[in-house]
């Protein structure tokens, strides 16, 4: 298969970037999208050109490192799944493919398609943890957790922190990410000691990082590779209202 590529090239954060045209030939339909970029990079290196910088790690959809906007959709047209799980057979032969980085003000571009997503780490640092007793593991059945809550916590915990939610959101909001992290811990008894302070702190840092606001368009859940439901955002709104009410009542 042959493709015409328009790829965002930007030397560093301070220099404006632009789309540059490339062509790749004789690509197997079963090549993954990132392997196709590897092939292009090898050909660029052979010609003595600067290869295209992009992030990837596990290449099996579980690490959340790869982050590309392909033809205007975060992680490309094959939802749900990260861009490493996208295969060239999804495109028609001879197609033109536009590749851009995730565009969110809080994710500054480092180079080409590489972005700095440490804003998400700072949201987690603000409260996405539990205070645990150090020492040997306790008896697993000593804390009982209703099956329904365990399932919901597990669904929320599936978030791989790729930032596609903020990239796809018309408002650049990271509510789905924050909602997944807050919900995951607030459904479980282990997360309850910090339940109120966690949601207040994480939302405050999320706003301070310059993410936008949720207007319930649900574009985030449509592109999420981990299929996190936007109903966790409703859970976040509930948790926030509850915590703010308790805080104002002086607890």
């Amino acid at each position: 298969m042959n493709f015409r590529l328009k790829i965002w090239r930007q030397p560093n954060a301070n220099t404006p970037g632009k789309l540059t045209d490339y062509e790749v030939r004789d690509i197997s339909p079963n090549t993954s999208f990132l392997e196709m970029l590897d092939i292009l990079n090898e050909r660029l290196l052979e010609r003595g050109e600067e290869p295209i910088a992009f992030d990837s790690d596990c290449r099996e959809g579980i690490c959340g490192t790869c982050a590309l906007t392909v033809n205007g959709e975060a992680h490309g047209p094959d939802h749900p799944g990260a861009v490493c799980e996208l295969y060239m057979r999804k495109f028609s032969d001879g197609a033109t493919i536009i590749i851009e980085p995730f565009r969110v003000g809080a994710f500054p571009i480092v180079k080409d398609l590489v972005i700095d997503r440490s804003a998400l780490d700072r949201i987690v640092q603000a409260g996405g943890f539990i205070s645990a007793r150090a020492g040997s593991a306790p008896e697993a059945n000593s804390i009982l957790i209703p099956k329904h809550n365990a399932d919901l916590a597990m669904e929320a915990a599936a978030c791989i922190g790729c930032g596609a939610c903020a990239a796809a959101c018309p408002n650049g909001s990271a509510m789905l990410f924050t909602a997944a992290k807050v919900s995951h811990l607030s459904f479980l008894p282990q997360g309850h000691p910090e339940r109120e302070s966690r949601v207040l702190k994480m939302v405050r840092v999320m706003d301070a990082e310059g993410f936008g606001n949720c207007t319930n368009t649900y574009e985030c859940e449509a592109v999420c590779p981990a299929e996190i439901s936007a109903s966790f955002i409703a859970k976040l709104n509930r948790e926030y209202a509850r915590a703010a009410l308790q805080r104002s009542a002086g607890e």
């Binding site: 906007t69 033809n71 565009r103 809080a106 650049g172 368009t217 439901s229 109903s231 409703a234 209202a241």
Partner: protein, 216 residues
């Protein structure tokens, strides 16, 4: 959350306003008596109007602030942008809202303050001594441009509420996985029912089904 609560207040008003207006189909005595009844509330009517005006101002002020923050959150736009799930209505709430605001200003000048149509001043009280709202609406809507602008304003209100009337459940955390798609559908059905109800009045008048109760 503030947007959701002020939005609910305004939705409740829109429902009540429609029920009041639909009395035009029952006859002049009903709608003229109803409007007299509202005016007889006196200070209470003004309290309600002030409350609604405050809700409108807060709703607009907060959403404009949110929209500015949202613009700042993505300083560099995508060259290519495809939406998978976000509806047209959900992405253009500010635009549809501002056009609805322009419509409301015209609507108040037209029927509440009666500044746009000099003929309204010539209307005589109805046989029961009430202001003849019935004939005022009929004369007002007999103009195709006026009716056309009302239908356009209502269409944008429908778009706005098609998203807004289900969106507030999410903002207030009053939903879950199963309920959300049903609420989204219910919100759109609700908005189109309002559209059908409101536009039925100018349409009925233009079709000649409702005639003025007095000649000018």
């Amino acid at each position: 959350m503030i947007v959701a609560i002020t939005g609910i207040i305004l939705i409740l008003f829109v429902i009540g306003h429609l029920l009041g207006n639909l009395q035009i189909f029952i006859g002049p005595d009903w709608i003229n008596g109803y409007s007299q009844h509202l005016r007889d509330l006196g200070p209470l009517l003004w309290a309600i109007r002030l409350f609604l005006l405050t809700a409108v101002i807060v709703h607009i002020y907060v959403t404009i602030q949110l929209a500015i923050e949202n613009r700042r959150a993505r300083p560099e736009a995508y060259v290519d942008r495809q939406y998978v799930k976000a509806t047209f209505a959900s992405r253009h709430m500010v635009m549809s809202g501002l056009i609805v605001l322009a419509f409301i200003v015209y609507h108040l000048a037209h029927f509440t303050f009666r500044k746009t149509d000099p003929r309204f001043a010539l209307l005589k009280p109805d046989p029961l001594g009430h202001y003849d709202v019935y004939s005022m609406m009929v004369y007002g809507f007999q103009n195709y441009f006026v009716s056309g602008f009302y239908v356009l304003g209502l269409f944008l209100l429908t778009l706005h509420l098609g998203h807004g009337s289900s969106s507030f459940f999410q903002s207030l955390g009053l939903n879950d996985n199963k309920l959300t798609p049903r609420l989204a559908l219910g919100g759109r059905v609700f908005a189109w029912l309002l559209f059908a109800g409101y536009t039925s009045i100018p349409v009925a008048i233009l079709l000649g089904l409702i005639k003025p109760a007095q000649q000018l």
